[in-house]
């Protein structure tokens, strides 16, 4: 059982020489194909570097261009050479100059020996591939691709379009079922010989000459015709990102590569000295028959692609600034906006914090300063309490606050006395949980004891602001969870808005409050409203607040309002 290596090289030839030497020292025959575009000097240096090894050969040099037939042609030539000149080679392993062996060849030989008659090549029908970049999966086989995608992008695209219009459909040679897969394989001598000496090869080659990226389909298709048992996976650890570009391994991947138990990895950064040194000089340890386990590396690269394509929701930064609607979440985490309750209970923020453990701010958007929890001047992320800084970009202020405190629920009070701009922004944020008791802004006016004639104007102003805000909360674009009660509803069932706030925070486990919040005394409030009316104002956001209400007592058991019985507020 001896595996022979075909290496396709086009850059970093010094590394290719090192790896070829490593395999040759282990007794493996190696055939190198060097891209004809590589300069003569570099080529000569490579030849000189491996001249000491008897079983390293060079195949006829071709100009290789990505995505074209030339790569298959080079592979064929090198593989034919290997099969002809090294009868002892039982398998042929296709590698590149940027591959690095991670395990001793003896382990690879043993692994192949234990799985006789098996060809290792990823080979999937076109219906089943999800990864083909550019959407050209079926069309790779039904159209012609005479133009190099890398050099003549426009010509390439135009010709594809033209063929689509003309409904070109090439006939696939008889007996072939198109399959796709990674370029790097390990085939048995028998299979490869059968593929290369197929009597129909001239026709097949002529067909694949115009297929798009044939190096991912030629052997992958033909192995289905000639192979005995196809193990559809590559023994080479090679990962591609969302643009179809190979991920590169660096020195800091050493441990991951070691743990992967894969036989060969690509693509290695040519200057990754530590990797080359570690894997090419390691003394052969106890032979291991472990299965390759690339899943950790898979996950790493999957995460990277997700970071690039989806990003971290709710984060705006130097390389992520989504357009409207593409944020994957305007904010990073759920938070609560509480309107009115702060006016109706004594020390409401403190109580809520004790009850839920959440971070509860005062009026974050108060005109004077941002009232951070605990009265701090600065908050997480060095956010300042300066109103000017906050109001410069209130959305950025809030998203920063939510981002900076990831993992800790944030709640803040809001009302018509605050800077309003954030009001409709939060309404469109699915992470916002908004509980409103409308009209509660009148309570501090009532408690101030100032004459009604004096507060009348202020009341009208606040009512107008809140009415506009409630309008925003009722639009169909609203994506926040919004619950609105009027002050009159609240007085009837004060526990409901509270429960809504607690539910929003997710405190479901304890159905009972450990401590009831202390409500402000509303005796005389009805008369206060009547006095406002008498002054000619129309306080309507409180609902039908009785002039002398019945004793306010929590009435448990009533369900949260549905759309039908949601208290209606006339505007």
């Amino acid at each position: 059982m001896t595996v022979g290596f075909v290496m396709l090289c086009h850059e970093a030839l010094d590394r290719a020489a090192q790896v070829a030497g490593y395999w040759a020292r282990a007794g493996c025959p190696v055939v190198l194909h060097v891209d004809a575009r590589v300069g003569q000097r570099d080529y000569d240096a490579l030849v000189a570097a491996v001249s000491g090894y008897r079983d390293v050969r060079f195949s006829r040099r071709l100009r290789c261009e990505w995505g074209t037939w030339s790569l298959v042609e080079a592979t064929q030539a090198a593989a034919e050479m290997l099969l002809a000149e090294f009868p002892r080679a039982s398998h042929v392993f296709l590698a590149s100059g940027a591959c690095l062996p991670l395990r001793p060849v003896a382990e690879l030989n043993a692994y192949l020996g234990a799985r006789p008659g098996t060809d290792f090549i990823e080979s999937v029908t076109t219906e089943d591939v999800a990864w083909a970049a550019g959407g050209l999966d079926r069309e790779r086989f039904s159209l012609r691709f005479p133009f190099a995608w890398k050099r003549h992008r426009r010509l390439f695209d135009a010709y594809v379009e033209l063929q689509r219009r003309l409904r070109v459909a090439r006939t696939i040679p008889e007996g072939l079922v198109p399959h796709l897969g990674a370029q790097w394989w390990c085939l048995r001598r028998e299979t490869l010989t059968a593929i290369l000496s197929d009597p129909a090869r001239p026709q097949i080659d002529r067909y694949f000459r115009r297929v798009w990226i044939p190096d991912e389909s030629y052997f992958q298709t033909l192995v289905r015709r000639h192979g005995a048992r196809v193990e559809s996976r590559s023994l080479t650890l090679a990962k591609f990102d969302y643009q179809g570009k190979p991920h590169v391994f660096y020195d800091d991947h050493l441990q991951l590569l070691r743990d992967s138990n894969c036989f060969v990895a690509r693509k290695i950064w040519p200057r990754a000295d530590r990797l080359y040194h570690a894997f090419l000089n390691e003394a052969a340890q106890a032979q291991s028959a472990a299965e390759p386990r690339p899943d950790k590396i898979d996950r790493l690269f999957l995460r990277a692609v997700r970071r690039r394509t989806r990003g971290r929701g709710g984060l705006c930064m130097v390389s992520r600034f989504p357009r409207d609607g593409w944020e994957n979440g305007r904010s990073s985490n759920p938070y609560s906006v509480i309107e009115g309750l702060g006016e109706l209970f004594h020390d409401f923020p403190d109580w809520l914090r004790r009850e839920t453990g959440a971070q509860v701010h005062g009026h974050l958007f108060a005109p004077g300063r941002a009232e951070f929890a605990g009265g701090e001047r600065h908050f997480a992320g060095a956010l300042s309490d300066s109103a000017a800084l906050r109001d410069y970009r209130p959305e950025a202020f809030l998203t920063s606050l939510i981002w900076n405190t990831r993992g800790e629920r944030q709640c803040f009070l809001f009302g018509p006395r605050d800077t309003q701009r954030i009001g409709h922004w939060v309404a469109a944020d699915p992470n916002a949980d908004i509980t409103v008791v409308s009209g509660a802004w009148a309570v501090p006016l009532f408690l101030s004891g100032r004459p009604v004639a004096k507060v009348r104007k202020e009341a009208a102003r606040l009512q107008k602001i809140e009415a506009r805000h409630l309008n925003h909360l009722r639009r169909h674009q609203v994506r926040a969870r919004v619950r609105i009660w009027t002050l009159a509803d609240f007085v009837e069932t004060p526990m409901e808005p509270l429960r809504s706030v607690l539910d929003g925070i997710g405190r479901r486990s304890a159905p009972r409050l450990t401590e009831a919040p202390r409500m402000v005394d509303l005796a005389g409030f009805g008369a206060f409203l009547q006095a406002l009316r008498n002054e000619g104002m129309h306080p309507h956001l409180m609902g039908d607040f009785p002039v002398e209400p019945a004793a306010a007592s929590p009435r448990p058991g009533r369900a949260a309002p549905t759309d039908d019985d949601r208290p209606h507020v006339a505007l």
Binding site: Y250, M317, V318, S319, F321, H378
Partner: protein
């Protein structure tokens, strides 16, 4: 459509104008030590305009040499502290000097544009100040060349950063900086999450403000706070120009270092170690010279704040650990570089 075409045409002319201006401004530069002939084809370059920074130079040069910068293109703008002599003696530095007005060279950017056009065509080029330290994902394990190679493979030509203002805890004068010292040992604190961003529709770049300068010096007029978006690393082409410092470039596509569809491109930070004990003296000098942006207005704001007793530190300041910390905080991103 038509609006877009007009805009493109206008920006095209603007770019040409900056290039011609750079061509004209080259006369202000006198070669002191021109070693540009030693620049190899794939060398990574750094371009710096400076004045009286002798004290900071040893650490600056060694920091960037360690990252893998092969050659420094420097313009000395009338230093009197031995900066020029020190630079001229470095084997990997090409030095030009100019006694002309910093302000009228658009804060040195005309000189930079000229040097890059002349010497940086086809090179990855890092344009930074002496107090800016470039940090990128994996910079502790992968040299700059790994990053530029990966950017090349990804067909990316420019790399965005956040200018992250670093500051000490306590008064700036409390910890004097000495030659060769890592300034980040003193100025090791930063603001982790108080930045605001908007898009500049004309040039397509992001405009980022915030950090300690906005918090302390500009809290009453945040719109005047300095810009923190920088694009220091560019695979230079002779047709490119910086428009305003390294905040933005032309052609416009180079400014698209951010993703607009929810994803994150790979990005870094420029750690800005400006706020050392030397800052007070610098502020006095620059206010007097009025050679800086908006006629030194920024420096006047600093001088007004409280001078040498300035303490930028607050209870929520974050202490710098490494790039991974900045990545987790969302100040930079690995993107799909893993």
């Amino acid at each position: 459509m038509a609006v877009e075409a007009v805009r493109r045409y206008r920006l095209r002319w603007q770019r040409k104008r900056w290039r011609v201006r750079a061509l004209r401004k080259r006369r202000e530069l006198a070669a002191v030590a021109d070693r540009s002939a030693t620049i190899a084809a794939d060398d990574i370059l750094a371009c710096v305009v400076l004045r009286n920074e002798r004290l900071r130079l040893p650490h600056f040069l060694s920091y960037y040499r360690r990252l893998g910068v092969d050659h420094f293109l420097c313009v000395d703008n009338g230093s009197t502290d031995g900066t020029a002599e020190y630079l001229a003696s470095q084997p990997d530095v090409s030095l030009w000097s100019s006694g002309a007005s910093y302000r009228r060279s658009r804060f040195g950017i005309d000189w930079v544009n000229w040097l890059l056009r002349r010497y940086a065509h086809g090179h990855w080029t890092l344009t930074v100040d002496v107090d800016e330290f470039f940090v990128y994902p994996f910079c502790d394990t992968r040299p700059l060349r790994a990053l530029t190679g990966w950017l090349d493979a990804s067909s990316v030509r420019s790399f965005g950063t956040l200018l992250l203002d670093m500051y000490p805890k306590g008064a700036l004068t409390a910890h004097p900086y000495s030659e060769g010292q890592d300034p980040l040992d003193i100025a090791s604190w930063f603001d982790a999450g108080n930045y605001v961003i908007s898009r500049n529709d004309e040039y397509g770049n992001l405009w980022i403000q915030g950090g300690p300068r906005a918090r302390v010096f500009f809290s009453d007029r945040p719109e005047s706070a300095p810009a923190l978006n920088k694009i220091p690393l560019v695979k230079w082409h002779r047709a490119y120009t910086f428009v305003s410092s390294t905040h933005m470039l032309l052609p416009r596509g180079l400014n698209l270092v951010y993703d607009e569809w929810g994803g994150e491109k790979t990005s870094g930070c420029l750690l800005h170690a400006k706020f050392l004990d030397t800052f007070a003296a610098k502020t006095r000098e620059e206010t007097r010279r009025r050679q800086h942006y908006a006629a030194g207005g920024e420096y006047r704001a600093y001088a007004g704040a409280s001078g040498p007793e300035t303490d930028l530190w607050c209870s929520r300041s974050e202490k710098y650990v490494n790039w991974r910390q900045l990545e987790i905080l969302g100040l930079m991103s690995k993107g799909n570089w893993a």
